[in-house]
């Protein structure tokens, strides 16, 4: 076990250090060495190999220097690479080309390529700001009660048995990520099985979220690159060999990054297998209403798992379907066998949340509650939501047609078969690089493009880029 270290070293050491990318994992250390021997040893270890995380040498490296020296206790902290998904936007922003296109992060853009704040959101926000009796008191640890109830109704259905029986606990969290993290931490502490199965591929942040939450991450086959569809056989085999009780991460709809969803029949088979093997389903629902344009349809998979009376976990995000990205609004629901269990589960969720951020932010949740509770606003929302989903579907068709018109080699029908914000193009890393370099198209290295970032005026530029990549780059 690595020991504490002050890490302060001489100025000379630091200037040597500047050349290195530091990083080693903890190595135990003989305490009989002299301070300078330990310092030099620490430096030597830092030269071995750069890795992501890093720890310092053993205790006793006391400083014979004053704090005015250049030495830093953080000398051993390596520079972290840019987040792969968010890093795409960073790179895009640096590009000065007038034809640059950002198809990286999944944030909706209008036909004019601009971010969109929904009209209902503006209306709700106006109401909130104008309401003189509104206060900014701490929310309860579990968040805004009304928001929690309405979120549960949205995903499970107004008449859901789990709501009727009071056996679901819903807590407000920081969008999808926060809900997944709190859920993961809860499972690590209170669930007997620490393994979670995630599909291949999945959203890049999933493995990190669950690993830091304390779970052990395994994978199940999902995407078939040959058909560019679902590898159902592989999925069934892998889940079948999962140990009893293992947690299974399921994308409720609009799988990210592939856009490939199981059919209703396949969902039913998945449900039966999960139930018979006693696996615990954990849904990530980030696109309800955004995938098909219909809120109930996009919640079908989740509702199947509630209808059978079993338990499940659901992380909900309002980032996309309400366009509330930066407000960080989401909810974690845990459907339990009984109301009594749900009550205890909720009390334990609070113990996870309190030392993480105490209680969640009020602004976004208030907006969601205002919209969901008001019939008029709710209806307006569904119309705006469908309009966004329809525009994306239209982009899919336009891109497909453009590639067909160019006689671009390959089968591009997956573009219109896949669902949701993203298309898994099937382009490889070299082709993606080429498109960025030559055509200023920004996308993640796995070939995922955000259809939400496309417009009628930019489709042909993208089609040109794909065509060139496929014909010039192997």
């Amino acid at each position: 076990m690595n020991k504490a270290c002050s890490g302060q070293i001489s100025a000379r050491d630091v200037s040597e250090r500047k050349e290195m990318n530091c990083g080693i994992h903890g190595v135990s250390f003989s305490s009989s060495a002299t301070p300078s021997e330990r310092r030099l040893s620490a430096l030597a270890r830092h030269l071995i190999s750069p890795t992501e995380s890093c720890s310092c040498s053993a205790s006793g490296v006391s400083a014979s220097i004053t704090s005015s020296d250049v030495g830093s206790v953080f000398s051993h902290v390596a520079r972290a690479p840019e987040d792969p998904i968010l890093g795409v936007t960073v790179a895009y922003n640096k590009d000065s080309s007038p034809v640059k296109l950002n198809l990286g992060v999944g944030a909706y853009r209008t036909e004019e390529g601009k971010p969109l704040v929904l009209n209902v959101v503006r209306k709700a926000e106006q109401q909130l700001v104008n309401n003189r009796s509104r206060v900014k008191e701490y929310l309860p640890i579990v968040g805004l009660a009304e928001f929690n109830k309405l979120s549960a109704k949205l995903i499970f259905g107004v008449d859901s048995p789990c709501i009727r029986d009071n056996r679901v606990t819903t807590v407000q969290c920081l969008s999808g990520t926060g809900s997944l993290r709190v859920g993961g931490e809860f499972l690590t502490r209170h669930y007997h099985q620490r393994i979670i199965y995630i599909p291949v591929p999945t959203w890049g942040n999933h493995p990190k979220v669950f690993t830091l939450a304390g779970l052990s991450v395994k994978s199940y086959r999902y995407y078939d690159p040959i058909t560019r569809g679902l590898d159902f056989k592989g999925l069934v085999e892998d889940l079948d060999s999962a140990p009893s009780g293992a947690i299974v991460l399921l994308h409720a709809c609009a799988h990210n990054p592939t856009g490939v969803d199981p059919s209703i029949q396949q969902w039913e088979q998945i449900r039966q297998m999960i139930r018979s093997k006693g696996l615990l389903p954990f849904f990530d629902s980030a696109y309800q209403g955004f995938a098909s344009g219909n809120l109930d349809k996009d919640a079908q998979s989740v509702r199947m798992f509630v209808a059978d009376g079993g338990e499940c976990i659901v992380a909900q995000s309002f980032a996309k379907n309400m366009g509330l990205y930066g407000e960080r609004v989401g909810a974690l629901s845990i459907v339990c066998k009984t109301a009594d269990v749900a009550g205890k589960v909720e009390s334990q969720l609070k113990l996870v949340i309190r030392p993480m951020y105490s209680n969640p932010p009020i602004h976004g949740a208030s907006i969601v509650a205002a919209i969901l509770r008001d019939r008029t606003l709710y209806d307006e929302w569904t119309i705006e939501l469908k309009a966004m989903a329809d525009r994306i579907i239209s982009m899919r068709h336009q891109l497909f047609n453009a590639l067909r018109d160019r006689d671009t080699p390959g089968d591009w029908s997956h573009i219109i078969k896949q669902i949701g914000m993203f298309t898994f193009t099937g382009l490889n890393v070299r082709q993606v690089s080429f498109m960025t370099r030559e055509y200023h198209i920004y996308m993640t290295a796995d070939g995922r493009i955000s259809m939400a970032g496309l417009s009628s005026s930019t489709v042909s530029h993208l089609a040109d880029a794909i065509h060139a990549a496929v014909t010039h780059v192997a």
Binding site: N2, A4, C5, S59, D83, Y138, L139, G178, C336, R354
Partner: protein
């Protein structure tokens, strides 16, 4: 860790209990099952063991009907936030909530600062979008918050030696820093004052950072045990992290003097410790932003590397918006840049990026000279009201108490809280008999007290202090 082990065992035990009985019996309540030893609690083995040793026929479908979370215990309510819950449930009209530290007006209403309302109106008129912030938060906010903390002319800022990442108020910022300590200083300890804010220990526990305490509060003097504090900081292993309250110590309200701060800095420097400030009341304690930041600035001026968590919950009344920042002052810009990148790497799997609303409010208020001036005035008003309430409470106590007890500590303490010196039984009496809600450590929030209620509170304190042991 112990509690989670327990629930693991009991979860499996209960699962095995339910598996071996019919659903009806299970629903009747607690079930006693012969001898449930630890080996039978191993997942996967449970059903077969029960089958073989205790019961004949078992329905596998019954086993699957058991809740996966059956054995989970009901957690106790949060000691601080739970007070408000209990207060809400109380129907007595004399009830007084002196639990959580949220500012109240003289009419005991929550207060949204005028500048905040103005800023929000401006934001709405501008029609800003709701795009994701970068992982490190709103750049304008990060700049403003670092400058507020250290002063815009501070060499640390001019030399870019500070890593600032927007965090979820104080708690979230502390948690990010704790995660950084756990990852890059494994085994290093954090020293917490005795007493300290209740949630500090939870934060470091959950982050996996070991902690111990340094003496702080002296019940005999109802003041600072300075010698004890210095001795304990000196005794800690070199390179420990010392958690210091920048101003308005929570829960005691007792702050070191400037001279004492110098000596604290001396010993921290001598031991190569790292000062870790929790600044939740800048501007709220004395009414002056600069004065309340003097301890942090003292350390920075000495060229020391620091960690500083900031919160805008109290000083801008933005409690529920969860706006704060974690700052790491480093000896070089390059180190600060690396540290910032690693803080981002910790934030991404926690919540991806922070909420935009509160950050924009702060940036707008601080960025506009008129609003900034108005803010300072409102802060002086809030701090002033608390000072008045302290005075009135002290006067009431001294008028009523003929025992000769010195209540002047109420005037000497600073900030939102007063550490009354009441023990748990006495605090319970305050609640049970007088409907005064406070935390069990004897802390009262003066922000929740009005001049009108000072007499009543004085009566309650008198009764609890003299008649209950």
């Amino acid at each position: 860790m112990a509690s989670s082990m327990l629930s693991l065992a009991s979860a499996s035990a209960s699962a095995s209990a339910s598996a071996s009985l019919s659903l009806q019996e299970n629903l009747k309540g607690k079930v006693k099952l012969g001898s449930v030893h630890f080996t039978s609690c191993l997942p996967g083995k449970t059903n077969s063991i029960i089958k073989a040793n205790h019961f004949g026929r078992i329905s596998m479908s019954v086993a699957l009907n058991a809740s996966r979370f059956e054995g989970i215990a009901m957690a106790p309510p949060d000691p601080i936030l739970g007070v408000s819950e209990a207060f809400r449930a109380d129907t007595d009209e004399k009830k007084l909530n002196l639990g959580v530290g949220a500012y109240r007006t003289e009419e005991l209403h929550p207060y949204v600062l005028k500048v905040v309302k103005k800023a929000e109106q401006l934001m709405l008129e501008r029609g800003e979008n709701k795009e994701y912030l970068p992982i490190e938060g709103l750049a304008a906010f990060n700049k403003a918050t670092a400058e507020l903390l250290l002063g815009a002319d501070n060499p640390v800022i001019k030399e870019s030696r500070i890593a600032t990442v927007q965090g979820l108020s104080g708690t979230g910022s502390l948690r990010l820093a704790a995660a950084l300590v756990e990852r890059y200083f494994p085994g290093s300890k954090v020293l917490l004052s005795s007493p300290t804010w209740g949630n500090h220990k939870n934060i470091f526990n959950d982050a996996g950072v070991p902690w111990s305490e340094y003496r702080y509060y002296d019940p005999k003097t109802v003041g600072l045990d300075f010698e004890g504090m210095i001795a304990d900081i000196k005794a800690a292993p070199d390179g420990s992290f010392i958690l210091l309250h920048g101003c308005a110590h929570n829960p005691t309200g007792i702050d070191p003097t400037p001279e004492q701060w110098e000596k604290i800095a001396d010993v921290i420097h001598e031991k190569n410790h790292i000062a870790f400030f929790d600044v939740a009341y800048q501007g709220f304690a004395s009414g002056s932003l600069d004065e309340d930041a003097s301890s942090v600035r003292l350390f920075a001026a000495r060229g020391m590397e620091l960690i500083v968590a900031q919160s805008y919950s109290k000083n801008l009344g933005l409690y529920a918006e969860r706006i704060g920042a974690i700052n790491v002052v480093c000896s070089s810009a390059e180190a600060a840049s690396r540290v910032k990148s690693q803080l981002k790497r910790l934030a991404r799997p926690m919540y991806s990026n922070p909420p935009v609303h509160g950050a924009r409010v702060v940036a707008n208020v601080v960025g506009d000279p008129a609003l900034f001036g108005e803010w300072k005035a409102e802060m002086e008003m809030m701090a002033g009201r608390i000072k008045n309430v302290r005075q009135k409470l002290y006067d009431s106590l001294m008028a009523k108490d003929k025992s000769g007890k010195d209540w002047s500590f109420i005037l000497k303490q600073i900030g939102m809280f007063s550490f009354t010196g009441l023990n748990k039984a006495q605090s319970d009496n305050m609640t049970n008999k007088w409907h005064v809600y406070m935390t069990k450590d004897g802390r009262i929030s003066l922000a929740g007290l009005s001049l009108a209620k000072c007499e009543y509170l004085a009566d309650a304190i008198m009764d609890s202090y003299h008649n209950v042991s």
